[in-house]
Amino acid sequence: MKAYNETWVRNKRILEQATRWERQGLLDASQMAGIRERFPVGFHDANGFIEIGLFIFTVVAVSGSYFLLATLLSALLEKTILYHLFNLTFGLAVGLLANRLITTRRFYRSGVDNALILVTVALIAAGLAGLLPDSLPTWAYCLAMLPVLLLGVAYYADLLLTLAAYGTLVTTLVDLLLDVPGGHHFLPFVGMALATGLYMLARRYENDERLLYWKDNIILSEWLSISLLLISCNYFIVRQIYFWRMENRPPEPPEIPAAWLYWALTFLVPLLLFYIGIRQKERPLLIMSAIGWGIALTTWRYYHALLSTEAYLTLNGLILMALAIALIRYLRRPQNGFTDRPDEDSPKQFLIDPETMATIQATTGRPGPKGMPFGGGDFGGGGSGDRY
């Protein structure tokens, strides 16, 4: 059971790959025309900006309907059980609408369907969780919602739902382990094991043709798993978790048992990710290892500050620039399969816009000392609040 036309999803993938080959000059225009004809995609291709608008205004319309109905039925909904049943029914109705629009309007991740799917699954999950007794622990509610979310992912292959399902799974485990006496000792390792297991599973099936419909979801869960791995073994996080579990909390989180182990993991895991990333030429591993290394250094600085923030920023900036310049020069000629020449697999669009944004943000950052009079708008080369 799948919400979207699977053949079209498959054809879309084939066309994407063929278009890449066409741009490299490996296929000519007449062949491309033939491929388009043989592998038709019926979805309406939408533009990213329009999708944002469609998403926002669909949410506006659906919320309006929800609150209108809830107001009209307010006398009835005072009974809690009826309120949860109302949520369930409304969710199902929105789901039916979503399916109708997906079929008739051929929406595929077009904003409207994303919004409707999200509302459907959220209301059904919340409605079901609401039917449970009131005094259950958080993990029990999460556990009850997880199957609904997973069914939603299976049916719609929606990315936001995937994120929600992943988050719910992790919340279930964390809350459950924190409920068990002594469970927090195992939490970092359970987190790491879950992250590694899910990552390996995702890598194993990412190119499986039977799972083509969910390819994006599988890739997303790889990114999420690496992030979970980095968070689970981070010294700062572990120390905070031990702190939360304490009966009488001192003002500052105290040192934790086996601190050396978590320090080692904080630094070694990003290095290991980098090593595997280079060996296997895996972009998510490489990018996350760089971020992980940054997190590790920041964690170290949090406890053992050697330099002032200014000196730290300046020095790190210099190191980053030197590193980037050296690598760019080194890769002018391809080395071991790596190159500095841009290609289409790079997440270019993701990077350019944030770059511009960050420049502007840095340009208008707070001026160095307080109270420096400027024309009226803040404008100075000083530091901005961002980590960059």
Binding site: Q17, L26, G53, F57, R105, P342, D343, S346, T356, G380
Partner: protein, 318 residues
């Protein structure tokens, strides 16, 4: 789906012959792993961290020995950056050009960021510009805009536009989705409207003359957002001028809508829809005071209306 599997599929459908299949397969096998953008981001993060760090550093040790040395060193680095960028600059043409060095664009960016730091420091320590605070932002605005066109650098263009907008007293913080300024002040409001109209006029004129047409979108997006924010703010703050601001907003939204459809630039369609919707909603709630049910009905009808409008737009524009 792996490339190999796609190849097999195309081959089975007789869309490519065996020779071509072999060629594509070998191209795929020889494909290099590009880290181009990752390295650029690394370089970029380094530049931002460095310029931010020294920006704070020069105020921190302001009265200590070695401080003037730090300032002098920064001035040298700043000049060095500009010199490097100038050395590898491509000759000016109306079309898009690229620096002859992979680091040219980044040197220019670092130079501009350091220039801002040094300029702010000069004003802070020596009151270089006296009380003419406007000059402190107007000077970099003009400089950056000139450099942006001369060196063909969209990042520096955004910096110049940001400086220009802050010159009239409005702060741009895109990461927090805001323009901040005292829009209750009619002077600021009118300057914002005037500046945005002038910028849009300039951008469209240059676009027509085919000068750096890839800059048009950036300038129009900056100026357009400023104009629409100013008009919406005017609508909110000046009740007696409601009609004028509402009319202005309607004209601006209509203009952006038309432009978006003509140029297939959907960002302007989104802008005009959202700002227009905020304006209409404000007027409806301000004058009609709809209560519960009526308000919900308003959300339903307008939500559906805009959704249908946007989805039909998509079909036409595509």
């Amino acid at each position: 789906m792996s490339p190999e599997r796609v190849l097999q599929e195309l081959s089975e459908q007789h869309l490519i012959d065996d020779r071509q299949r072999a060629a594509i397969r070998s191209a795929e096998a020889d494909k290099l792993f590009s880290v181009h953008w990752e390295l650029r981001v690394l370089l970029y993060a380094g530049i931002l961290a460095f310029s931010m760090g020294v920006g704070l550093l020069i105020y921190k040790y302001i009265d200590q020995i070695g401080h003037s040395f730090l300032i002098a060193a920064l001035a040298v680095v700043c000049a060095g950056c500009f010199a490097f960028a100038a050395r590898f600059r491509a000759p000016f043409t109306k079309a898009r050009t690229h620096s002859r060095s992979p680091f040219g664009d980044y040197a220019l960016l670092l130079g501009c960021l350091l220039f801002l730091t040094l300029e702010g420091y000069l004003q802070y320590q020596y009151h270089f510009f006296g009380n003419r605070y406007g000059l402190v932002t107007f000077l970099p605005a003009v400089l950056f805009l000139a450099l942006a066109y001369g060196f063909d650098h969209r990042g520096v263009l955004s910096m110049g536009l940001t400086a220009l907008i802050s010159w009239i007293g409005v702060t741009v913080r895109p990461l927090e989705f805001y323009f901040r300024g005292n829009f209750r002040d009619m002077t600021v409001l009118l300057s914002a409207i005037g500046l945005s109209l002038a910028l849009m006029g300039g951008a469209l004129l240059l676009d027509r003359r085919r000068v750096k047409r890839h800059f048009t979108l950036t300038t129009l997006a900056f100026a357009g957002n400023l104009l629409l924010v100013a008009l919406v703010a005017g609508l909110f703050h000046f009740e007696e001028l409601n009609l004028i601001f509402a009319a202005g907003l309607a004209v601006a939204c209509f203009g952006f809508d038309t432009y978006a459809r003509r140029e297939r630039s959907f960002v302007f369609l989104l802008m005009s829809t959202i700002y227009g919707y905020i304006g209409v909603t404000y007027l409806v709630f301000h004058y009609l005071h709809p209560h519960n049910e009526a308000a919900y009905l308003y959300w339903i009808l307008t939500g559906i209306g805009v959704t249908v409008y946007l989805s039909t737009q998509r079909n036409q524009v595509q």
